[in-house]
């Protein structure tokens, strides 16, 4: 290499920082100097440098100060306490255990405060390699831990990356505490990148799908908004909130006098809304009078209490439960768990109680996917529908997650889990002499349930030895290896044949956490990472995620975060080498247009080359096993994987599977 040109010398870091200090020094240098500083900074931020142009070497800070008689405060280069330290004090009062982030200079002071001033505890700083991972992690975590964690997003770009994950959490009504940042007032901003990452209204990017946001302009305001935001995020129906931490507030010195004036308000979490007694009485009358009541349940239970209470209600009425599975709501092997007959039960019902429906219309209607979108009701026109839900308490315009309007006959706007004990009391009061009729109904349910396992076994035997491996075979091999463990699923069911709910005894609330909410692909690996973290904190559990190959490719770096932070889990890639959902959509269109029915795989298959997922996992420092395409080898592979998880490792097993379970 030849000698450095003076321009390259200008890229030297010390020189670069000096240049900034001068530029920031209240315009003491002349326009020409400012111009050359700007050019240098732009170059520094967008290296490589252009062809050399002759330029004088930069003066040192001391030279500049001497020449320009810089005021003393400009040369006060260190400080003991900053606004960002106070922000950490605020967060510490909220008992947040973890904060996930991909680093970004808009919050550099806060990050440093969290890890040094806050000693990197409560919250502990977790490194994520994409902002979608940070928020997705918070999503999965909250559903297992029952409380939010935080994520920190770089100004503008970080929030943009995070947007889909935030949308999923919003649609899934899951709390998370989000922070983003922006450089301070215009005169303080360094030219170039700091402007790109500054925004007047950073929350605007995601405001349509968060519960609340604020850009506090003082530290006192930061304290109040963060505490308020936390309480709001957790209030039913929960959701993400976003606080913008101003760069100047973060980085400015906090004097003892100023600090003495600040107050962190205490956190009080509001009680949840409960259905009014008159409505509950009416609902109880309707349920008790019904010959064929059905309980439809969707985003209902947020804890074991919710599950246990629903068991009490169902047993009291001897009413079947049809579970739409946005949460773990009801024990899957209870005789009243009647998903296998869901369609028939709804069709015959004279009274339907729908608990926290995500989509009441969809529960009671079907739309046919042909050119003419005909729809039909799946229940009797005379069936009485009672909804008990918080659905209407958090609804915004624009994004359409609220689903088609569907009016219940009795709509009780309240939190279903908080209301459940009062509904049970109301039913007990109305029950009178109906007990024996209920018992007969219960017996029918027990009889029907006996057939469920046999049917599942008959279905599972189909393609038992097939390669690609069938969903039933995979879940059977998995069960065989984990049946004596305290296992917990962290992924939804929909693409793998629903075997967990058909045959596994899902009894504990933490054994299943529902789906993504917004159907944003990429949820599966990231939510699993966060859920596994929450399981790790409890200890002794074996967290399992079944993840689509398409889903995994949105965030393979979860394996690194898991390896780095020692978060063990078993991740099985349900590898159908495709965005299979979309394969079927394109097929449908080709058929509809009477052409090219062999082409559905163009743009939807993930083949040629095939991806080596196990190798990818290993490259991130995790355990990678597979690909396994022979069902006979699967048991051994899972056994190895389980052993590694129990030894504290994140494990990925690549299983070549049928397109659908």
């Amino acid at each position: 290499m030849g000698k450095k040109t003076s321009d390259q010398a200008g890229l030297d870091r010390r020189g670069f920082l000096t240049g900034v200090a001068v530029a920031g020094g209240a315009g003491l240098s002349g326009p020409a100097q400012a111009q050359s500083n700007q050019t240098r900074m732009a170059q520094a931020q967008t290296a490589p440098a252009p062809a050399a142009r002759p330029k004088a070497p930069l003066p040192t800070a001391a030279q500049t100060a001497a020449e320009n008689e810089t005021p003393a405060h400009v040369e006060a280069l260190t400080t003991e306490k900053t606004g960002s330290d106070f922000m950490v004090d605020v967060c510490k009062t909220l008992n947040i255990d973890f904060l996930a982030s991909c680093p970004g200079s808009t919050f550099r002071a806060l990050q440093e405060s969290f890890i040094n001033y806050g000693q990197n505890k409560k919250p502990e700083w977790l490194t994520c390699l994409h902002e979608e991972v940070s928020v997705g992690m918070a999503h999965g975590y909250a559903k297992v831990a029952g409380k939010p964690m935080a994520a920190m997003l770089h100004g503008t770009v970080g929030t943009q990356h995070a947007a889909m994950g935030i949308y999923n959490a919003y649609c899934d009504r899951v709390p998370m505490i989000l922070f983003t940042a922006s450089a301070g007032p215009v005169e303080d901003r360094r030219p170039g990148v700091e402007w790109m990452h500054s925004v007047q209204d950073g929350a605007a990017t995601v405001r349509d799908f968060i519960k609340w946001d604020d850009y506090p302009w003082s530290l006192q305001s930061f304290a109040e908004s963060t505490v308020r935001g936390y309480a709001l995020a957790c209030a039913e129906p929960p959701g993400p909130i976003l606080i913008t931490a101003d760069g100047k507030l973060q980085e400015s010195e906090l004097s003892k006098q100023e600090e003495a004036k600040l107050r962190i308000p205490k956190l009080t979490r509001g009680t949840q809304t409960v259905g009014d007694p008159a409505a509950l009485k009416e609902a109880a009358k309707m349920l008790v009078a019904a010959e064929n009541p059905v309980i439809l349940v969707d985003r209902y239970a947020r804890s074991q209490q919710g599950v246990d209470d629903l068991v009490r209600l169902a047993e009291l009425l001897q009413a079947p439960v049809v579970d739409k599975q946005s949460r773990m709501n009801f024990p899957s092997q209870h005789y009243l768990y009647q998903n296998a007959r869901g369609g028939v039960l709804v069709a015959q019902a004279d009274c339907i109680l729908s608990l926290e429906p995500v989509d009441l219309f969809g529960q009671l209607n079907r739309v046919r996917d042909q050119i003419e979108r005909t729809w039909r009701s799946t229940s009797k026109p005379t069936a009485k529908v009672i909804s008990l839900s918080t659905h209407d308490l958090l609804m915004k315009a624009n994004y359409q997650d609220f689903q088609r309007y569907s009016a219940a006959d009795l709509a009780i706007t309240a939190d279903a889990q908080a209301t459940m004990p009062y509904l049970i009391e109301a039913v007990e009061r109305e029950i009178g002499d109906r007990k024996s009729a209920f018992a007969a109904r219960g017996q029918k349910m027990r009889d029907a349930q006996k057939a469920f396992a046999a049917r599942a076994h008959a279905d599972g035997a189909l393609g038992w030895d097939s390669s690609p491996i069938s969903g039933a075979r995979m879940f059977a091999e998995l069960w065989n290896q984990v049946k004596n463990e305290d296992w917990a699923f962290m992924s939804p069911n929909n693409y793998s044949g629903n075997w967990q709910h058909r045959l596994w005894p899902i009894e504990k609330h933490y054994q299943f956490i529902g789906n993504s909410g917004g159907s944003g692909v990429g949820y599966e690996p990231v939510a699993a990472l966060g859920a596994a973290l929450a399981h790790r904190e409890v200890g002794g559990r074996l967290p399992i995620a079944i993840v689509g190959d398409g889903n995994f490719n949105m965030a393979p770096s979860v394996m690194w975060t898991a390896a780095h932070h020692k978060i063990p889990f078993l991740m099985i890639i349900q590898n159908n080498r495709a965005y299979h959902q979309e394969v079927m959509h394109i097929q449908r269109m080709a058929n509809r247009h009477n052409r090219g029915i062999e082409s559905g795989v163009i743009g939807t298959e993930i083949t040629n080359p095939n991806i080596d997922y196990a190798g990818l996992a290993r490259s991130y420092g995790a355990v990678g096993i597979g690909p396994i395409s022979d069902p006979k080898e699967l048991g051994e592979a899972i056994k190895k994987g389980v052993a590694a998880v129990k030894a504290g490792e994140p494990v990925l097993i690549d299983v070549i599977m049928q397109p659908r379970g």
Partner: protein
């Protein structure tokens, strides 16, 4: 938007067809060609690579007990959500080949002989 009872109509048409099919013998089909088209024409996507069926996307087809006419009718006028396969994109002959392939598949094992399967979920 039209509202009508899809299942009812579909059910009727399948019944009518199976009655018809009692008389007609299933056509002889070319199993190898059927196997090829089962994949290239997308049946495997919803019905599994061996006609094993999948809970949410399509019922089992292996060793189908439907008479050929009902099988064909389902492709031409699907009962519900299955995409239509009209004669322009798949001939009666090709459907007969797929039908023959489905009929030729080995019977799946009896669940009772699979302790791993019947033991799933049993502690």
């Amino acid at each position: 938007m039209k509202i009508f009872a899809i299942t009812l109509l579909a059910g009727l048409s399948l019944c009518a067809n199976s009655a018809l099919a009692q008389q007609a013998a299933a056509p002889a089909g070319d199993i190898e060609n059927g196997k090829k088209h089962y994949t290239t024409d997308g049946c495997y996507q919803c019905h599994g690579t061996l006609g094993n069926g999948a809970a949410l996307t399509g019922p089992k087809l292996a060793n189908t007990e439907l008479p050929f006419d009902a099988f064909l009718m389902q492709l031409r006028h699907p009962a519900n959500d299955m995409p239509p396969y009209e004669a322009k994109i798949i001939s009666d002959k090709t459907v007969a080949d797929i039908y023959a392939y489905m009929k030729s598949l080995p019977k799946s094992p009896d669940a009772k002989s699979l302790p791993l399967l019947t033991g799933m979920g049993v502690k």
